[in-house]
Symmetry: C2
Subunit: 462 residues, 2 copies
């Protein structure tokens, strides 16, 4: 199969929803979401009962669905799936997302049923995503086979590969809250056919995808995963959360997506030998992706810190040292530039502790322009009572911290992140100041961890 | 000095604010905040210019302040502080919070100035908090020497000891957002007199304080800290964020609160030899305190997990194994109890993956009542589109996840935390369901880390 074979899953011309249901339950909302996204004229509901549903007229069988249609979403009970696949193939549809559960993940008869479906797909030359998944999202095509909220369809540059449907769906629910917007998402379920390697190759060639987040319980084919990651991860970042680190975790996995996850050391070696970036936790996956999807590559590991809180500057310095970043002394030029307009009490060193002075933006610009610094972290802190008082008298966040987004635009060459600690309204203001190209964290350590991961990735590429 | 000596800082009968200012700047808002908290009749502003300020009449000198007054908050420029201390002592006030900066932390003349102030205090028998701090908060007395927002004054059971004023202030800004409410807070600054050990002893004897959070850049007296922690931390949890782990961090510290932080190994040994709990990061400090301030002690290290997402159950299991918690098989009784009303596809094991079934509360109760389980983590996940659809048709969070707060009340004996992943509105609903006694986390690993820290603490106490 060619890469364009995968493309039909994300860019179908017309879609048949086989097993469209009239009562709330799995898949009930799919027509509602596709209508919201403008698919009324390209979506065909199929159910033997016919009639009408959500204002669509329902086709009694797939054979009756009009052209153009090149993708089927199947939500019928597991037992009916092999038969439905034959009908879908008869209609000339070669791409199918099987969302139904009750296959290999339940063991016993489910395994045989999955094998029967696989046999039909192979014989009829079909490509299958699933079963036991919720399929795909493509924000640029406004296409989705899963019930997602409006905000999840705001286009972005991050793409997601997940095994579990629920996991993929909640990622779509939460990522936009962190300023992360998605290009494409796919949930693979039991991987009867299409697997993570197919998707990595597809997304590697997808211009809209700048970084790839992947949640994996186990590789379908370890050797192929290694080859694929070796190819893909050096072209664009692949951030991986791999569960089953522990024996207890592997046992829990077996009953979930029928994955054999294998010894963790093997995966660790695969990730180390490729440029894949492993996240240690769900939070870290999100943190890292926020930085990888917006920041340029650093040329080295030297971190410049500007902070309005000495304590948080120290904590960031500790975190940097613990993870292998340097916090070098300021160059003379930068020190002079910051000191020029600084109050006498200010210690002009790295971290630059500007205290309550207005030197925050001056110091940011000095460090972003300093050849002795490879990346910059700004830590914006101000007690909220004081922030509220001064903003009520006409000051703004700009008054304190400068126009961070504009500073980013003037100095686009280095990784740059902000940490804002305190009241959520304060953090929101700092987010506004910082714009979409500067990730804002709410404590210093995650920001430092993500910058360090980017540094390791950049050094792998060199 | 006796413990009641410290009490005057938190429970003064009357307060003189020396150096009250009429223009915005450091300390300007203190009278405004104290008025809001009901201190109009016990607050006396002092400034040589006299006149009126914020509707208070201003005393030209401390001598003129009427009774009762037993605490002075000093915000005059550093150079005037030694003289002001003499006047305060003449007025019979023995407790002083010096908020002014410009002492040992700036080096040079500042060191001499601090020594001069210290000499006055010692000679006149005064107790001093500061300089270079923002003093104290006592929510039950509605007293504060720092400009804090209303929400920070909602009473709770956690007390805070911090060196840096800004750090303490932003903790007060953010903690209530995590459901953490404060009893008392103190920022120590340069610790000319009162230090962390005085405060640990005071809070150890304070019935309103259930757990203590401490941010330390360096101990003033390492031997005394060890003795004090040995006494205090076995009575109530002391959670410590100690910066200066790295050489780079220690250098940054020196210029901040004039602390010599010393080798990190020494602190590590002190914490290990006492029951003090060290947090590795600011986030971890907050996470841990949320669990320590609400949860009973576990009797062992066996974690039961109930989840509506298999993936997140696996991630929680991995995190538990990595940090030394067990995820043991379910007892037969619990398994039967959960299986009784469960759909056929459900794997009744630990983690209990209830999927989209209504078995979540049943499984929680089974595990909370199971003698083979020492603590319980519930992972509540539901795609937001679906949650929004069903709640719009009259279902509630209770329908899916049960009345978590009531379950907690029925089973108060074990640590119990919830993790809710997804849309912030969904997380908010789960928070409401869970009530104030069940901390809700937004990803599984922090919840597990905090439960593990509680387990280690409990085993230290045994």
């Amino acid at each position: 199969m060619t890469i364009s074979g995968m493309d039909t899953f994300f860019n179908p011309r017309g879609v048949a929803l086989v097993g469209a249901r009239s009562t709330p339950g799995f898949g009930f909302g799919i027509p509602l979401v596709l209508r919201r996204e403008g698919w009324d004229d390209r979506l065909y509901l199929v159910n033997p009962r016919g009639g009408e549903l959500h204002g669509y007229s329902v086709y009694a069988d797939v054979a009756g669905v009009p052209d153009p249609v090149d993708l089927a979403i199947v939500v019928v009970p597991a037992l009916s799936v092999p038969g439905v696949l034959e009908e879908v193939a008869d209609r000339g549809i070669r791409h199918v997302i099987i969302e139904s559960a009750g296959f290999a993940e339940v063991g016993g008869d489910g395994i045989a049923l999955q094998e029967a479906a696989r046999e039909v797909a192979a014989r009829r030359g079909m490509r299958i995503i699933g079963p036991n998944c919720v399929g795909v999202v493509n924000t640029s095509h406004h296409f989705t086979s899963v019930e997602v909220i409006e905000e999840a369809m705001l286009g972005g540059t991050t793409s997601i590969i997940a095994q579990s449907g629920v996991f993929g769906a909640v990622m779509l629910d939460m990522l936009f809250q962190y300023g992360l917007h998605v290009s494409k998402a796919v949930t693979l379920g039991n991987r009867m056919d299409v697997d993570e390697c197919d998707m990595l190759d597809y997304l590697a060639g997808d211009d809209a995808t700048r970084s790839i987040m992947m949640y994996l319980e186990g590789a379908r084919d370890g050797r192929r995963l290694k080859e694929t990651l070796g190819r893909v991860a050096s072209g664009k970042p692949v951030l991986i959360l791999k569960s089953g680190r522990s024996e207890a975790g592997r046992q829990a996995t077996a009953s979930h997506t029928a994955s054999l996850s294998g010894e963790d050391e093997i995966y660790e070696a695969v990730f180390r030998q490729t440029a894949a970036v492993r996240a240690g936790s769900l939070e870290e996956l999100v943190e890292m992706t926020r930085v990888f999807s917006t920041q340029p590559m650093p040329r080295g590991s030297r971190l410049g810190i500007v902070t309005s809180s000495g304590s948080l500057g120290v904590l960031a310095t500790d975190a940097a040292a613990a993870i292998g970043l340097e916090v070098p002394p300021l160059s003379e030029g930068s020190a002079d530039r910051v000191a020029e307009a600084a109050p006498g009490w200010m210690n002009v060193r790295n971290p630059v502790d500007v205290g309550p002075s207005p030197q925050f933006p001056v110091a940011l610009e000095a460090l972003l322009g300093d050849t002795g610094v490879d990346m910059v972290l700004g830590i914006a802190v101000l007690p909220y009572f004081i922030f509220r008082e001064v903003t009520s008298r006409g000051s703004t966040g700009h008054t304190w911290f400068g126009d961070v987004a504009a500073i980013r635009e003037r100095h686009p060459g280095k990784p740059f992140a902000i940490c804002a600690v305190g009241h959520s309204d304060f953090v929101d203001r700092v987010r506004e100041l910082s714009g979409p190209q500067v990730p804002v964290f709410v404590s210093p350590e995650p920001a430092v961890r993500a910058l360090a991961a980017l540094t390791r990735y950049a050094s792998m590429l060199r």
